[in-house]
């Protein structure tokens, strides 16, 4: 038997062979860009070179036939190159303006909607869910597909005040990041423990240490070493579930969706901000989650009507004040919106500022 092949530890590959020649030539030497139409960017280099980018939506989970279709579009219409954005959009680049229209047509014909530039709703960034994760409360690809169907026009058109980044997370670990709108699973009941399995499957001290509110303690149940949860303390976060699958947190009925608003990674104008809870208790209603879509559309509609140009969703809510956010969107304000986690005091109104 031959010795096993040891890997070539090549790490991050050289990008140059895969870079469109015009991008390679003008690397680090760009002058400005404009958006000639929805879904198209024009970048002009200091050399005077022009590159048109046609941006199109895709699903993140792609089969090889779709991938080959993308390769074919790149060959036939876009000089043989393509890049993907952080949010799984396709970007084809050409240096000849006359190639733009045929490229747009080819994308649309192949089922990749052209859009997602400028002040539009971008592709929802997503996670794994039932398709591949070992701890999901819901699916990711399906929820995103259903939502993008609903928000299709907002993806295609550039008529939002600023771009809208929506994220989704299928458990409370929240692989999805901060979002203008974040759609996340929120469990509402403590885990149900299968005491027969704990001793065999779980390293108990690790599980105890994982709980953010110290609600778990070792116990003996039915003569076997197990764990018990102080259900009054438990915040149903699900952190004990990954290290200890017998602590079943996912529940078809009680694992709900919560919606958060105003997250922002960039430091543009305002400093980065976390998203804030606005709605919860929405059912995990596969395969199309219509209740979630309704709330998201309501928020987007209000933002579109009321925010100023360039205002991200959180900046808008800050300007008009959260009381008005709830009033304008018609979403109920509850005691759960008042933060009682550590540092939560900083989110209270310690001033004489009230809008009437």
């Amino acid at each position: 038997m031959s010795a096993p092949r040891m890997p070539d530890e090549t790490g991050v590959p050289d990008w140059e062979p895969y870079l469109h020649p015009a991008l390679k030539k003008n690397y680090g030497q760009w002058s400005y860009h404009e958006r000639p139409r929805n879904g198209v960017l024009l970048h002009v280099a200091k050399s005077g070179d022009k590159v048109w980018t046609v941006k199109a939506g895709s699903c993140r989970q792609m089969d090889i036939h779709t991938v080959r279709k993308i390769a074919q579009i790149a060959d036939d219409y876009a000089d043989g190159f393509i890049r993907f954005t952080m949010r799984s959009a396709l970007e084809f680049m050409v240096t000849d303006e006359s190639k733009v229209e045929p490229l747009i047509q080819a994308c649309e014909d192949a089922g990749f909607p052209v859009g997602g530039t400028g002040p539009s709703v971008r592709m929802v960034s997503h996670t794994q869910g039932w398709l591949h994760c070992d701890i999901p409360g819901t699916d990711a690809s399906g929820a995103v597909k259903a939502l993008m169907d609903e928000l299709f026009d907002d993806f295609k058109n550039q008529d939002m005040p600023n771009h809208v980044h929506i994220t989704s997370s299928c458990c409370q670990i929240n692989c999805g990041g901060q979002g203008d709108i974040a759609i996340n699973i929120q469990h509402t009941k403590p885990p149900k423990i299968n005491h027969d399995l704990v001793a065999n499957v779980c390293e108990r001290p690790t599980v105890v240490a994982r709980c953010p509110v110290a609600a778990i303690r070792p116990a003996v149940v039915n003569g076997k070493p197990s764990l018990e949860v102080d259900e009054k303390k438990c915040v149903a976060c699900g952190a004990c579930f990954p290290p200890c699958p017998p602590m079943q947190i996912n529940d078809p009925e009680h694992s709900k969706f919560a919606i958060w608003v105003g997250g922002k990674h960039s430091s543009t104008r305002s400093k980065p901000s976390f998203h804030k809870l606005v709605a919860a208790g929405l059912p995990n209603n596969a395969p199309r989650w219509p209740e979630v879509g309704e709330v998201v559309k309501k928020i987007l509609k209000t933002y579109k009507e009321d925010a100023k140009d360039w205002e991200r969703m959180g900046e808008w809510a800050e300007r008009i004040g959260w009381p008005q956010f709830f009033e304008k969107t018609g979403l109920p304000f509850t005691k759960y919106h008042i933060d009682n986690w550590r540092g939560g005091r900083a989110s209270l109104n310690a001033s004489a500022h009230i809008r009437f």
Partner: protein, 412 residues
Amino acid sequence: MAKEMHATPLLDQLESGPWPSFVTGIKRLAQDNDMMVDLLGQLETSYRTRKGYWKGGTVGVVGYGGGVIPRFTELKDKNEKALYPSAAEFHTIRIQPTPGFHYTSDLLRKFSDVWEKHGSGLLCLHGQSGDLMLQGCTTAAVQPCFDEVNAMGFDMGGAGPALRTASSCVGHARCEHSCYDEYAAHRQMINAFLDDMHRPALPYKWKFKFSGCANDCSNATQRADEAVIGTWRDDMKVDQEKVKEYVSTKGRKYIIDNVITRCPTNALALNDDDTLDVDNKNCVRCMHCINVMTKALAPGDDKGVMILVGGKRTLKIGDTFGTVIVPFMKVDTEEGLDELEDLSGRMIDFFAENALEHERCGEMIDRIGLANYLEGIEVDIDPNQIDVPRTNPYVRMDGWDEEVAKWEERKA
């Protein structure tokens, strides 16, 4: 021809509507691929019961301790036989793509061919850390599949308590705002610490992200343990003729309402002759005015990066943003990048030695305090690291005179 399809009335509802459907893609694969037939069976079950049915395990390739995400089905009958046997093993292989996610059509076809031969044919382009993920591989096929991908010049990504795959904004390749060569920094930082990726032995994950400016298109501020973000030190570039053009085409009101009054530090003024004044000392390089008037305004010439540390998602203390530890650093030369590598090395080492198991860097800093952390990684304290000075008196200050002396020394 594959085995017969399972009925999927729920998933079928995800085939209608204008957005591209992953279900249609999976069904196409299932026409000649048993694994995808059974994957649809398991996924439909999840849609019906609203439960997930994968569990982890241990699968890998020779020479590496991570990079494969093992998945075994939990949907079994009384006799422990998988209900959907062809998808009983459904592992993911994480691969590091090029910085900026650039491909040739030829490269996409090569990945498709290898993946058709060894796996399910389902790819994820790309995960949120930045991996190309090949999803749906049997245990036996993981090694031969990786061998072929590796021979194409691509390496495994990170998983587990390890250095993770990084990502970069499009940056230098196609963005006029870019203040440093993101891809070069990305490649050098990851490749310098590759051992920490392939042989997971850190307390928990360590993520790098690279953004060319404060617009932070790679979401580095919150999503990276070490965020490298471009900025500049000298004056912003202003082309006054172009400013006048903006004013004449957009109108004074538009420029006042959308540029001047939106500067977070009131560093802009529009003059009576329609030229622009920039108070560069008070500009915080937020990028807003440059975004709006990209033809007229641009970052200065003395460009570099700032380093933020400690961004992470919810578990366990709640979300954190990265905080500034180094406000400016030149990385446009080999020496500059080496200095960044040295600093990153000190940060990763300190994390490896001082974080508790399953504790992210941001949580560790919360626990020990930023000042102690900075001392540990040999970075000077700097008022750019804070929003406001301390507001409570609960601190021992008997070292005051020595600390003042250090400040004077640093200033000298």
